[in-house]
Amino acid sequence: MDDLLQEFIAETRETLESLSGEIVAWEADPADRARLDAIFRFVHTVKGSCGFLDLPRLARLSHAAEDVLAAVRDGKRVPDTALVNAVLGIVDRIGELVEAIDSGAALDDSSEDLLIAALDEDAQPVAPAQAANVHRANSRSVRLNVDLLDRMMSGMSEMVLARNELARRLRDETVDPLVEAALERLSLTVAEMRDTVTRTRMQKIDALFSALPRMVRDTAGELGKQVVLGIDGADVELDREMIELMRDPLVHIIRNAVDHGIESPADRKAAGKREAGRLAVLARQSGNQILIEIADDGRGIDVDRLVEKAKAQKLFTPAQLAAMDAAAKLDLIFHPGLSSRDTVTAISGRGVGMDVVRSNIEHIGGRVHLASQPGKGLTIVIYVPLTLSIMSTIVVGVGDQRFAIARQSVDEILRVRGEAVRIDTVGDAEVATVRGRRLPLVSLARLLGIVESESEGGGGGQTLAIVSTRDGDYALAIDRVIDTEELVVKPAAPVVMATGVYAGQTLPDSGLPMLLLDGSGIAAMAGLRFQRALAAEDEGAAEERVAAVPALLFEDLDGQRRVMPLAAIDRVEPVSTDAIRMTAGQLRLAIGGALVPLHTVAPIGERLEVPVLRLTDGVSDIAYAIHEPIEIVHLPTEIAPARGSGPIAGVAMIGGEQVELLDVHALFAGEIAPRPPERLCWLQTDGSGWMETFLRPMLDASGYRCVTQAPRDGPADVVLVMDDAPVAPQAARNVVRLRREVAAPSAQATSIYRYDRAALLDALAHAVGGR
């Protein structure tokens, strides 16, 4: 909220500065309509912001002035000198109050009634109040024009190019090492500057989130619902322009969640849920993407009703609908004209549907992903690029030309060799069959009329990029992949954009301009027509879609990357490690008044909080502790089966990496042997430090928990003592006695030589095994 207030102050101050000229001009000519409008707009804006920021005094003043000005605009009042003076008095007062808010100074409100009274038609003229001398606080932030930032950015790019050229020139000749060192330093500084300049465009996503609590509260209040909002990740930074563009889609999604998703308290109670619905908004950075997740625990999307409505509205044929898999059916929500609720409410039924949300997000290079669990809730994940101005691209070559493709739109790149890829001609069209999946093929060289390079050995088209568009995927034949590069992409000239195959232009480090290809545009130019119903005819493709199970990729506690199907995960939440205890032979998590069995692959270690996956099969719940979630991925069709039994179902290739797929079935079936219970081993030290330094690390590694004091919470499983040191009998269940000498003295027949490692471990195992 502080940010919003700061913004309001800066904005009001700025408008007041530019308004001062208008005010003087209006004073000179009260009939001037343009000036009147400017002042009206100002008080109107202040009024609007005040209601939001809870500034009642400012609201009252601006409201009064607005009323009077509205009357003047409607011709009900004549702007005489008294009225002008009164309005100006209020505008001045607004300025004083804003300064007072900023500097935190108190300003008495005695004169405000007078100011408002002076607006009345029959008011006596008041002597203009002496402007209070309010100290203006020194702010550490300034408002800047975006143009200025853009110029700074392009200046920066220029600097990078100049440095590159300098480096290129210096490479060609032998250079004094001192010059080289200077260049090195220049490079470092330039890189650092580039970072800083990029950051000037960044803003915390809090700017987007801070207005949500109020909005959720108001919306829920209007609907008579109770909603608890949780916000996480407000620190994530995003391009300022991106934040502005995200505002409307986010507001829409949140309103939808409160209006359509979360049920009324009575319905929730009937469904066995808590009366207050839960809405969680989370932002996270993942590589060069920002992930915004909006999860509610409402009723989810009623897919069957969506399908019914699509049928009723004849948007698709019954055959088409029948052929759709679950994901495609869920995607119907994005179809214009389909909203899963039959009644339109004042909150979300304003003609802005999910289709607009999706196209807005896609417009800025983002994606929307839905995961709906009927009756349990809906999770919407929005993926947006970190910044509008820098794009991650793949540079491809065709003939002697190079083009960039947005990395997001390329699913994979493969060479046309071997069994995996086949190219056939069907009619006059080419079709690529990739691992049993048929895709239309577009030759970039032929589309662009570029002479394919001969040097690659037998013509080009040796490499395929699988390009995914909103409507469907196709294979784009290119000669080669050159590089991946982060590029500053700008719109090209209209005459270039009119071709329909380019999305913009860019200047890479090579210093030669390059065009960014538009994946959907190319499909349109090549005459590809995708239909969702294609799945009905093409069994292979249908299977492929069914197999594309969304899954959560995460880093497990042992540092391994693993995936788990998203459907099995109810939610991911951080829990305090205090809530996790070893009780009755099993790790359990106390959460929400219930005990949930917790699985881990490795000790949780020293941390205060650990994220857990809450898994449910509809009947029972279990929890699985992980190190951290990474992102949502789609499981490939091929999964190599695991050897042996255990919680791993197999190995999948995700992003070129081997990732283990967790066997959810095994988790629920309880097949996983619970981690061996921790064995408490009390080292009765003798002050020499031998036990702590020599023995303890070995015992730790063997799975014993070692303490050097008598344990307070019950007897230790085993106590280790040296030679003939006495042992308190009730402090430990078993005693293992060590001796310093190799040969056992007769008095200590049962003791073990302290370096006889095998015997020592055996003795310990026997001792705890007898528990």
């Binding site: 209209p494 005459v495 200047l507």
Partner: protein, 141 residues
């Protein structure tokens, strides 16, 4: 009196209003733009900017400007920079702008780009509108 840049385009002398001229440069390597209008030669880097190069000859409906021509006038239209290829540049001076003589029949694209005349040492020169040379705008005009 306005300031005009006197240039040679397609072998003929023309005058360009200097308010349209951003700078005059010798351009570097041109990158082709497949599928675009014939009047677009390609893209070129001008410091950190990417500039669209206009083949003036083709845009006028005459023979293409030879590849050897590297001199260009940079102009900014609707926020985009264009490099208009010119055979040669001669002079910058103040001239009186005159309307096109009535009955003057301009062939090819000249009629579309000519917006007036100036007189230089008794010789009339056509005043050329650079924006009309850019295909997209030429179509709209």
């Amino acid at each position: 009196m306005d300031l005009f840049l006197i240039a040679q385009i397609a072998g003929r002398g023309v005058a360009i209003d200097t308010t349209q001229v951003g700078s005059v440069v010798d351009i570097a390597e041109i990158v082709a733009v497949p599928r675009t209008e014939a009047g677009v030669r390609g893209l070129v880097a001008l410091r950190s900017r990417v500039v669209t190069v206009i083949d003036t000859g083709t845009a006028l409906g005459l023979d293409p400007t030879p590849d050897s021509v590297r001199r260009a006038v940079i102009t900014r239209i609707d926020g985009h920079d264009y490099a208009i290829l010119v055979d040669a540049l001669e002079d910058v001076a103040l001239y009186e702008r005159q309307p096109l003589s009535s009955g003057l029949a301009l062939d090819h694209g000249w009629g579309r780009v000519g917006i007036g005349l100036i007189e230089r040492d008794g010789e009339p020169l056509l005043v050329v509108d650079l924006a009309a040379l850019v295909p997209q705008y030429a179509l709209a005009a």
